[in-house]
């Protein structure tokens, strides 16, 4: 964000700077690519736009997007949370177990989100109080939380029969043509975006991420900020876990394994810099939708599912390389205009 301010100031060639600015706004570029791709897929396979398919694409993308918003908070503060998939899995399984034992649905959901918050806070405590680098701390909790899920699962799984009747209905429901999950995701994304953009604590996340020492000198308590980033990440992973349970209905101890990669990929593709201090949650959410679209396009176009990981990897590498290339070019342009 700080980078673009001086670039805006010098308007050497209006067309060039406009293109550069559009290219630099990751959200716009990505949304453009998304629309073009969706159009192409829809032309190739008309049933792509059928209501059932749209709900199917967006349900999983919405879950990943919600977790990606939380992950974006953490990555903006120059940390990383690898444990989201285990948090999603643990929360989803715990909620299902509570429901199986007859806990009322709203209470189970609240407990689930609270559990996610607690898990995120314990990550935050390990990182900020004990000063463990976040990659190591969350690598540990990644396997720790998964192990806890195996402990409470005790070799069993939860079937849709164990859950209250019609529990998985909301996953396919729509309101005014919009899938329910998408509405939830939009609410989460918009409120997170507002907090990050306008609230004081929101700006503090960026300040800590771009320069922790400078942030400390102007009186930001950077450790507390990082702690809250992890808390938010855990809580939103909890929300994602609750939705995961509604979406699938059948839960194993290994549910949501491997989703951390998808969540982090969504954040990175969405233009949040892994070195902290820049990026938006809207970008992260669009990134999640983009990856979900690729996943679904393979299905609809009857392409082999084996290509999915390959494409994910290529997209991640392409996205980060594009970032660097654009930055280098912008710096060169700036240097040139200064010489002139």
């Amino acid at each position: 964000m700080a980078l673009s301010a001086p670039a805006k100031a010098n308007r050497a060639s209006p067309v060039g700077s406009l293109v550069a600015r559009a290219a630099r706004s990751r959200e716009l570029t990505l949304a453009g690519v998304l629309i073009v791709m969706a159009t192409l897929v829809a032309i190739a396979a008309p049933n792509f736009l059928s209501p059932t398919n749209v709900v199917a694409v967006t349900a999983l993308a919405a879950i990943i997007a919600i977790a990606a918003v939380g992950e974006a908070f953490v990555i903006i503060t120059k940390n990383i949370d690898l444990s989201v998939e285990s948090t999603i899995g643990l929360v989803a399984f715990a909620v299902a177990l509570l429901l199986k034992q007859g806990t009322p649905i709203p209470i189970a959901w609240v407990i689930g989100v609270g559990l996610g918050l607690a898990l995120g806070m314990s990550n935050g405590i390990i990182v900020t109080v004990f000063k463990v680098p976040s990659i190591v701390a969350t690598l540990g909790t990644l396997s720790l939380f998964r192990g806890l899920t195996y402990l409470i699962a005790n070799g069993h799984e939860v079937n849709a029969n164990d859950l209250p009747a019609g529990y998985t209905q909301p996953a396919s429901q729509t309101f005014f043509g919009l899938p329910l999950f998408v509405i939830v995701a939009v609410v989460v994304v918009v409120s997170a975006a507002l907090v990050l953009r306008y609230a004081v604590i929101g700006r503090q996340f960026y300040a800590v991420g771009s320069n922790a020492e400078a942030a400390a000198t102007i009186g930001i308590r950077s450790r507390a900020t990082v702690f809250w980033a992890f808390a938010v990440s855990g809580m939103l992973a909890g929300v994602a876990g609750v939705l995961w349970g509604i979406q699938y209905g059948q839960l194993y101890a290994s549910s949501a394994s491997g989703q951390s990669l998808a969540v982090i990929a969504a954040v990175v593709v969405g233009g949040v810099s892994i070195s902290g201090g820049s990026g938006t949650v809207i970008g992260a959410a669009i990134g999640a939708l983009f990856l979900g679209l690729i996943n679904n396009a393979l299905n609809v176009l009857v392409l082999p599912q084996e290509w999915l990981q390959l494409i994910y990897g290529a997209v991640i590498l392409f996205a980060v390389s594009a970032d660097v290339l654009i930055q280098v070019r912008a710096q060169r342009a700036k240097a040139r205009s200064r010489v002139r």
Partner: protein, 379 residues
């Protein structure tokens, strides 16, 4: 904290007392403290702690089962079995160590295991003799590692994201190459390398390979200019570059080594299972990084020893074996491993904070407040 050579021996200390009568008692007490602390810090080396943990795990393991450390492989090859099951991650941990010392990380190693296994399987299934397949697979490993290294050094991308990308990319390639098939029936003399023993001993071939590699890595990292440059890069990249270290080349080379070693581990895994599937090795990166961190290598770079990593390998092997003999299934072992990882990092941090606290209290008692020493603020 260096000790002034003048105040080292008791004789010189006595000679100084009349000259600096006011400061001498304080210097004396501080000197005793620092000497005691030196002895303590020699004892408090991470490797010593690891040996203690290893001994505790082995003792506990022997309580759990008398078969724990039975070296007679005819009756109970538990030692060999538990060790050889860890060797793939162990050799990858060796190659991961210099990368982490330089402040980077390579998350893609587990996918390189899958990719190398897949290529080995496809080539073998196509009827190409395995003596030809293995060099090809190793070359693929080098290329994959070079790709990681180039993206990190030439384009200046963060290693975490690059290798996250190639983690997906290489796994995807393995899926594409092998699909949902699996290949087995590798030649017997080669699978013997995977799970056999050196004839006449209880030492698995894979353990021998690990020990040889460990010696090579130990010598290179602790006794050659390459190792010194690696530590220099990890401590301060820019300073290293200004003093003539070719940082980009060094990093690229280490990523290439990591790719090569991961491909080798993929071959070992394929031969040990006598089967390859495209999901071979999934989740092993976690264990590799865990071993390196448990071995006392600083994840922020600049610090670490191969000795520590080797001790961590055996600690993990012993722990897993003890848990298995205790009837703990592999899923629950996750809890133990995750806790071990977190505690292995938290413990020194707590010790450091405790020491800072003790220092502060002592400082307050011994020293007047008007002479505050600038103290590094722990971040």
């Amino acid at each position: 904290m260096t000790i002034d050579p003048r105040t080292q021996g008791p004789a010189t200390e006595a000679a100084q007392v009349p000259i600096e009568a006011t400061t001498a008692p304080r210097a004396n007490s501080r000197q005793v403290q620092s000497r005691r602390r030196q002895a303590l810090s020699a004892l408090a080396r991470w490797e010593v702690l690891l040996i203690a943990i290893l001994a505790a795990v082995i003792w506990q393991g022997m309580q759990v089962s008398p078969y724990f450390i039975q070296l007679d492989f005819w009756n109970s090859p538990n030692f060999g079995a538990s060790v050889s099951g860890t060797m793939e991650v162990a050799i990858m941990a060796l190659a991961m160590t210099p990368i982490i010392i330089m402040g980077d990380i390579d998350l893609s190693v587990e996918s390189m295991i899958g990719l190398s296994g897949a290529i080995l399987g496809v080539l073998w299934a196509a009827g190409i003799p395995i003596q030809v397949d293995i060099p090809i697979v190793l070359a693929v490993g080098i290329v994959g590692g070079l790709f990681n290294g180039m993206l990190v050094t030439r384009w200046g991308l963060p290693a975490l994201v690059v290798t996250l990308g190639t983690l997906a990319l290489y796994r995807g390639l393995a899926n594409v190459v092998l699909g949902t098939r699996y290949v087995s029936n590798f030649p017997k003399e080669f699978t013997a390398f995977g799970f056999g023993y050196v004839p006449g001993t209880f030492v698995p071939w894979t353990l021998l390979a690990f020990l040889l590699l460990a010696i090579v890595f130990w010598v290179v990292i602790h006794r050659t200019w390459i190792g010194r440059q690696i530590f220099a890069v990890g401590k301060n990249k820019d300073a290293a570059r200004y003093s003539g270290v070719r940082v980009a080349t060094l990093k690229t080379a280490m990523f290439a080594v990591s790719g090569l070693v991961a491909a080798f581990a993929g071959i070992v895994l394929a031969l040990r299972y006598n089967s390859v599937r495209s999901d071979n090795g999934t989740g092993l990166t976690l264990t590799v990084v865990m071993i390196v961190v448990l071995g006392g290598v600083d994840i922020n770079g600049g610090k670490g020893t191969i000795t520590g990593v080797i001790l961590a390998v055996f600690t993990l092997a012993a722990l897993q074996s003890a848990l298995r003999l205790g009837g703990v299934s592999s899923e629950y072992q996750n809890v133990a491993i995750g806790l071990l990882l977190i505690f292995s990092v938290i413990t020194p941090q707590i010790a450091r904070q405790f020491r800072v606290l003790v220092d502060r209290v002592r400082q307050g008692r011994n020293r007047p407040a008007r002479e505050p020493e600038p103290r590094e603020v722990a971040r």
